[in-house]
């Protein structure tokens, strides 16, 4: 594990919590042998969750990249599996466990809508990628197309125009979704009704055909129809996060005792659900994104408390950076898109042709980065979307299992 400053700090924090743990977790229940083995299992679950989080924090350069987000989801799915194993493996009295589990299920349902919204968000990024790919192919034609050129010639005006057109479309799409995630949904949904902010582009008021006017060469961006969100326009990722994490309180000592420690496992899983949802919303475009929701004071006795706080802080720090503050997603690749396209637009603004060698090199370098972002998006988006779907289905399955579990007698005595 590369020992960057922050990661070693996190590791040591994690360790210190581990050492504190024994003092703070209440003693196991009366049945000595059974309780101690279940206690060990629950401890292992907590510790593994902490380890997975620490691992996610180990490389701060990687934070919020597509690859990192995929690892985040992997970690979540692992934790969910272990949680199920712990829950169904330990005998416990119905109360207060049933109450705690029902509370967890409520939160889980809310995460399902978040998964759907995240899928829409990823689809949006995929949409952006298409424009990006056009710009990339205009500026950096693959070598097979131009194999007969010994070294790449200077970029021509046609190439630059084509790339700028694609990047402009991309920027408008990104702005559209940043400023008005809700409005996008509204626009696509309120067919034929008073055309909100598009109306100005409709000289002849033909709303019904589509909201994209785009009279020839008008330069209006209204033809850029973004994808609609599958959630209703009043839906808000911010509120959803608040609902997933809201009122999530540390289980009381006697609840932990009464449930053979399961109460703390349920709490951990709910907290992980929230943290992962929160990080995903931070990374991926969503309708009405916001990161205000926060976990209320996690006691340091939980080994994952330190890593979770570090994760929160790092992502919040990222979101406060000047160039990221207004971003539509903290995903590293989105940042790269923004940076690259801005750089390219600036470099090619009012360019004289033929381009100066220096400028040409600058553009080509940015184009190369563009190609790289395109590639990593191409490789990463589909698997990430599949994982988000997997999260949806696994949460549903866990929910069903827990409901079954609740309907069966599962108490030890």
């Amino acid at each position: 594990m590369p020992a960057t400053d922050s990661s070693s700090a996190a590791t040591s924090l994690g360790r210190s919590f581990l050492s504190l743990r024994r003092d703070h977790i209440p003693p196991p229940s009366s049945d000595h042998r059974a309780a101690s083995s279940s206690d060990l299992e629950i401890d292992a679950f907590h510790r593994h969750a902490a380890d997975l989080l620490l691992d996610l924090l180990s490389d701060s350069d990687d934070l919020l990249s597509l690859a990192w987000t995929r690892r985040l989801l992997d970690s979540f799915l692992i934790c969910l599996d272990e949680f199920r194993a712990v829950l169904f493996g330990v005998a416990a009295a119905h109360q207060p466990l049933d109450r705690l589990l029902l509370d967890f299920l409520d939160r889980a349902v809310k995460a399902l809508d978040l998964c759907n919204a995240l899928r829409d968000g990823l689809d949006l990024v995929r949409q952006w990628r298409k424009h990006l790919a056009i710009a990339a192919s205009a500026l950096a034609p693959s070598s097979s197309d131009h194999h007969h050129h010994q070294h790449a010639p200077l970029l021509g005006e046609g190439q630059i125009r084509r790339a700028r057109k694609a990047l402009t479309d991309l920027t408008i799409l990104m702005l559209d979704d940043k400023d008005a995630g809700g409005v996008v949904g509204q626009r696509n949904r309120s067919f034929g009704r008073a055309g909100s902010r598009d109306s100005h582009s409709h000289a002849h008021g033909h709303h019904r055909r589509s909201s994209s006017g785009g009279s020839s060469g008008s330069g209006s961006a209204s033809h850029l129809r973004s994808l609609s969100w599958s959630v209703s326009r009043t839906w808000s990722a911010t509120r959803q996060l608040q609902a997933i994490g809201g009122g999530l309180t540390v289980p009381r000592a006697h609840d932990i005792t009464a449930t053979g420690g399961l109460a703390s496992a349920v709490y951990t899983m709910a907290a992980l659900l929230f943290v992962v949802s929160w990080a995903l919303v931070a990374a991926i475009p969503c309708q009405d994104r916001g990161l205000q929701a926060h976990l209320t004071a996690v006691p340091r006795s939980f080994p994952w408390a330190g890593p979770v706080m570090t994760l929160f802080d790092r992502i919040l720090d990222e979101s406060k950076k000047k160039d990221r503050k207004h971003s539509c997603g903290l995903l590293k690749e989105i940042h790269q898109i923004e940076r690259c396209s801005r750089q390219l637009m600036e470099a090619t603004d009012a360019a004289e042709f033929p381009l100066a060698e220096e400028k040409d090199a600058e553009v080509k370098e940015a184009a190369l980065e563009l190609v790289q972002v395109c590639e990593s998006l191409k490789d990463g988006l589909d698997p990430l979307e599949r994982q988000v779907r997997e999260m949806f289905h696994r949460v549903v399955r866990t929910r069903t299992e827990i409901l079954d579990y609740l309907s069966r007698p599962h108490n030890a005595g």
Binding site: V109, K110, L112, D113, R119, D120, D123, Q127, K130, H131, A133, I134, S137, H148, H149, L154, G156, E157, G158, Q159, R161, R162, K165, N188, R189, F191, G192, R193, A194, H206, R208, R209, S210, S211, S212, G214, S215, S216, G217, H223, L224, R225, L227, S228, S230, V231, S232, W235, F353, P354, D382, R389, F392, H393, V396, R399, T400, L403, D404, S407
Partner: protein, 658 residues
Amino acid sequence: MAEGGEEKLLATVQHIVQTLGSSDTMTEDILRGFSNYDGRLSLDKPHAARTAAASAAAGGGGVVGGGGGGEHSMPESPTLPPPPAAAVSAAAGRPPPVTSMERTVRTLDRQISQFVAMDGLIWADSADADAFLEAVDDLIGTVQELEAAGTNRGLFDRAEELLSRCMLRLEDEFRALIERPDDAAPTAPGGFRSDGSDDDEDFGGGDGYGDEPIPIAKPVTDYDVVIDALSPGSVANVHQIARRMVDAGFGRECAEVYAAARRGFVDESVARLGVRPRTVEEVHASTWEELEFDIARWIPAFNMVFRILIPSERRLCDRVFDGLAPFGDLAFVAAVRTQAVQLISFADAISSSSRAPERLFRVVDMYEAVRDLLPDLDPVFADPYSAALRAEVTAVCNTLGSSIKGIFMELENLIRRDPARVAAQGGGIHPITRYVMNYLRAACGSRQTLEEVMEGDFGAVGGVAIAVDPDRPTSSLAVHIAWIMDVLHKNLDIKSKIYRDPPLACIFLMNNGKYIIQKVNDSELGVLLGDEWIKQMTNRVRRWSMDYQRVTWGKVTTVLQIGGPGVGALPAKAMMQKLRMFNTYFQEIYEAQSEWVIADEQLRVDVRAAVAEAVMPVYSALISRLKSSPETRHDLYIKYTPEDVEACIQHLFEGTAK
């Protein structure tokens, strides 16, 4: 070349619409909605004539494009207008060798610049459109030649710059032609102006559905429906442009513009189907009645979208991008994906919600709609770009399948959890028995589907899998139903224990057992459970009946035993004692058991007959002995004559509650 593909798709569309369900008003409204929206919904057979015309036009375009791209694209094309004088003199004033290539580019530049600067739609005039296309073809050819030669970089850049301007303009024209095809001049053979614009105003003018009454649609009997959103003439025009854009290496742009332009149509069509997007949370919070209503709308909407709208989009896309793979595939998926995914999401939400047994039938309906669609999707989602969407449909089919399985399993929990607190009045048929049996009988109507999901054989891959046969006692469904019957039996057994009268417990079990047998016998349940099971159940009922006889009437008949006459005969006093005991017993039994119930008439008759057979002979014997005995016959008081007893027995189990 791609014509074969089109024929295949047409056949698919035809097949799909044939498999659509029978006419109902909702579907008609949808059709009406579609037709009102676009005004070109064709209800006749997919027009062979128009198709032919379209492909002829497309083929013609191909020839032009091919000519332009080839080595014939030489400068002095006869159709070019003479270059303006100023330009000629400027060219003449330049010293070094003006290559023919340079002249070509210059001429094209002049010509194209005029078009690109035009205010209105170039395609508003077909001659303009033809001339522009020709110029673009020449330019594409020139650029290719220049690139191949690789000697004159400056000229190549100039030509490419010109090409990029052409493409920007073509993109706008392309978008306009797709979104407002009526603005174009009627050009291609078979091209026609839609006369649907009046209809459009009905809907669009009023800014929505507002105050106007929704028009009642005429009954639609023919489901052979393809939506031709663009007339063949428009398709031909649009195809011409797509071809140039792809030739010039602008295929991605073309696909993007196409998708963005069509998405509006797709979104709007789906919106008119009246399915509201619902979040999972909403679905979980909704009452089942609300969800049933949503499902009733969802199923026809799903069919309309996946069987008509999406295949029609596929067809349109294939025609516009005929021979221009893979851009057509890219464009198609981008145009339909969002709406397809949204519809699928609802099924996901339903699958994730409550598994209450009453939900079985509607979820089966949803599953069957998706499952039946799967094989028909293959030609529509055949390309690799649609694979993910195809996989989503398959996945939701599996999800619905597991949900059905879960719901069906939940019946078991429902039975198990049914509390034994309340006994059925008079030992009659318990509501749980009625519920479960009627539920299972109804479920048998979907037994093919249930067997499929029990086997985990969701959506019988590709529709060619061997059909499952639920109709045997070893099928997964049959085994599960037998298991449910077992759970029910155990539950009834527990319930029987709450009767304080042991014989009433027997009556209760007999009643419920008999009811179960009846329901099994007169439905497919009999086939599933098999003769052996029915025989066992019948034996059980017989055993309970015997238990009843023994427990209730055993002591009565014992009391009535008087032995034979003559030596060893009972003394008169003992016989009187027996009669008094009989009277007490009989009165108690009669009072209690005339309130009990035997629901099945035959069973009631049989039980009464068995009682009479056990009691009457011994009782008659006692009475006649008492009557003939000198010690007792004078002051003999007979409370029940044998006829009274017989009559009382015939009144048992009538359920005459006080």
